[in-house]
């Protein structure tokens, strides 16, 4: 019998072996660290303005930080630079950052992710997570869902795996010392949905 192995087959085998090694390592208690690629990890929010129930989309912020997988649990410390946030209207952005978020004094939001069980080396979909979100120095518990996939690194990346995924959670503005954001009569509703797309590379 003759086996034909093409490039796809080699990549698949590499992925399986890589994941198996990683799974073994993490099961044995070795920590595997993933560093967030900030440039590929946008953070967005979707808020509702009243009256009119207009959708206010904030974008431009990037996620920084690292996650660690150990014994089948994923945990991490992350931060978001709030200064690049934009909502599409310059004056509204100015008010958001100067009057409410006060990014001059508090340029970053921080998220500490509590350990969350993930399928070894395989990631998963809509995995519930909890954590602590800190805005303007005030920390509150937060919960949401995260989806993550692991893939072998590109050729020439020393075989480091890539973790890609999306995390979503909601926050209450009233839980933080922000005030009630209002711009020329349009007031932002208390609940804000946050979505984070992340790409992280295994660091060795």
């Amino acid at each position: 019998m003759k086996f034909m192995v093409n490039n796809k087959g080699i990549r698949f085998l590499t992925m399986v072996v890589g994941l198996a090694v990683a799974a073994t390592a993490t099961q044995n208690g070795f920590a595997v660290t993933f560093e967030v690629n900030s440039g590929s990890s946008p953070v967005e929010f979707l808020a509702t303005g009243k009256p009119g129930f207009l959708k206010i989309k904030g974008e431009g912020a990037k996620l920084k930080g690292r996650a660690e997988i150990k014994s089948g649990s994923l945990a991490g410390d992350f931060s978001v630079d709030l200064i690049p946030l934009k909502t599409g209207i310059d004056l509204r952005d100015e008010h958001m950052k100067e009057r409410y978020l006060e990014t001059g004094m508090f340029p970053e939001a921080k998220l500490v992710l509590d350990p969350v069980k993930i399928a070894e080396g395989q990631g998963g979909r809509d995995i519930p997570f909890t954590g602590k979100l800190s805005i303007k120095g005030k920390e509150n518990p937060v919960k949401g869902n995260v989806s993550v996939d692991f893939a072998p690194g590109a050729a020439g990346s020393s075989g480091s795996r890539i973790a890609k995924g999306t995390a979503r959670f909601s926050l209450k503005i009233a839980d933080y010392p922000i005030g009630v954001p209002s711009h020329l009569g349009v007031t932002v509703a208390d609940s804000v949905d946050v979505s984070v797309q992340f790409v992280a590379t295994e660091s060795r």
Partner: protein, 385 residues
């Protein structure tokens, strides 16, 4: 067809086509296409829940930042800044001022005749006084009704007046004289759906309207008491329901009943406004109207029905420059005649600075009954105060 007859038909076409000019409807200068920026409802930018008319402070800011090609600080303020003050401060805490100056040059031609008109459509001032959840508004001024006025003179008067009360975040009650809410509420000058939905020339009506708004849907219903100065105007009710799909799309349905001693006119429609991306939009509406004679079952209009559809797509080429295309169909069936006409056209809408709009349109209208084309074009100049 001889030239005299053709000329007459051209004049009829003009009269019908421009009967719905925007100066006479409350939706003038409304922008349902701003759903592409996440604007589901009109009330962020307009006082009127149906859109159009006087702008809120937020709407003025938006016009400077997202609508106009260029603007300098404060240029968007009321009356070109003549009112002074800061938004929400001093007199502007309780007084909103606006208005519209609008004129249009139209040209229409067929194989044997050409007709051009300069129509001073609107010279209106609008005032709103606010006190807590209550807002009272009045619109009036000099309105020359152009082709509709036999004396051809300007007339002064109050066209719209209403009081609205906001009850909590979701409920709004409005009473007074204003245009019915129906469909996607396009402000387009030649939209044939306007005449079905009751938002054509002089179509303000005495109404009591209730609106419920939420993130899931917006519903409005109004009792239409006709027009106190025009006893011949039918009475009835109108209802409108719309819901957002995704973040940049809304769909809905409308129903309107007009009843008089002679007839009952029922109009139903479905509509959609969608942002394909932040720069591209689609507006669509299709309405069906049926007429039932009450007193004389052999009346020519009995059993007649009419279907009108409207489709517009456009793209913001750069801020303040919007290219668009329009297609619409008007089909009349039953009664004494069956007729269909189609319109195709394209236009360019410019917002060079806050307060100013220039809108140019060229198109063709095809009458299917005699396969005759009419070329039509118009250029609109608009200064919103």
């Amino acid at each position: 067809m001889n030239s005299a007859a053709t000329s007459v038909s051209l004049k009829i076409f003009l009269a019908v086509s421009f009967a719905g000019m925007p100066g006479f409807c409350s939706t003038a200068f409304a922008f349902p296409e701003f759903v592409r920026h996440g604007y589901f409802s009109c009330t962020s930018c307009h006082v009127s829940p149906g859109g159009g008319g006087i702008l809120t402070d937020y709407g003025r800011s938006y016009s400077a930042e997202k609508l106009s090609a260029r603007s300098s600080k404060g240029e968007e303020e009321p009356l070109h800044g003549a009112l002074g003050g800061e938004p929400g401060q001093g007199v502007r805490r309780w007084l909103l001022v606006g208005g519209n100056m609008r004129q249009v040059q139209t040209v229409s031609e067929n194989r044997s005749a050409r007709d051009g008109r300069w129509i001073p459509m609107q010279r209106d001032l609008e005032l709103c006084v606010t006190g807590g959840p209550v807002i009272g508004c009045v619109t009036g001024g000099i309105t020359k009704h152009g082709m509709r006025e036999p004396d051809g003179k300007s007339h002064y008067g109050v066209r719209k007046a209403s009081v609205q009360i906001q009850a909590g975040e979701s409920w709004l009650v409005r009473a007074g004289r204003f245009s019915p809410r129906f469909g996607v509420m396009v402000p387009d000058h030649n939209a044939w759906i306007q005449s079905l939905s009751g938002r054509g020339i002089d179509d303000e009506r005495d109404q009591l309207e209730m609106t419920f708004s939420s993130e899931k849907f917006e519903a409005s219903a109004a009792l239409d008491h006709g027009h106190s100065d025009k006893p011949e105007v039918a009475k009835g009710f109108v209802a409108n329901l719309m819901t957002p799909l995704l973040d940049t799309m809304r769909v809905g349905a409308s129903y309107r009943l007009q009843e008089s001693e002679a007839s009952a006119i029922k109009t139903a429609g479905v509509f959609a406004a969608a942002g394909i991306d932040e720069k591209t939009f689609v507006l669509a509406e299709i309405d069906q109207q049926s007429i039932e004679a009450k007193v004389n079952l052999s009346a020519p209009s009995d059993g007649a029905s009419r279907v009108a559809s409207y489709f517009k797509t456009g793209r913001e080429l750069s801020q303040g420059v919007i290219a668009y295309a329009v297609q619409q169909i008007d089909l009349k069936e039953g009664g004494p005649t069956t007729a269909r006409r189609d319109m195709y056209g394209m236009g360019l809408q410019l917002f060079p600075r806050p307060h100013f709009e220039v809108d140019g349109f060229v198109g063709k209208v095809l009458s299917r009954s005699d396969f005759a084309y009419v070329n039509t074009a118009w250029l609109l100049f608009h200064d919103y105060l």
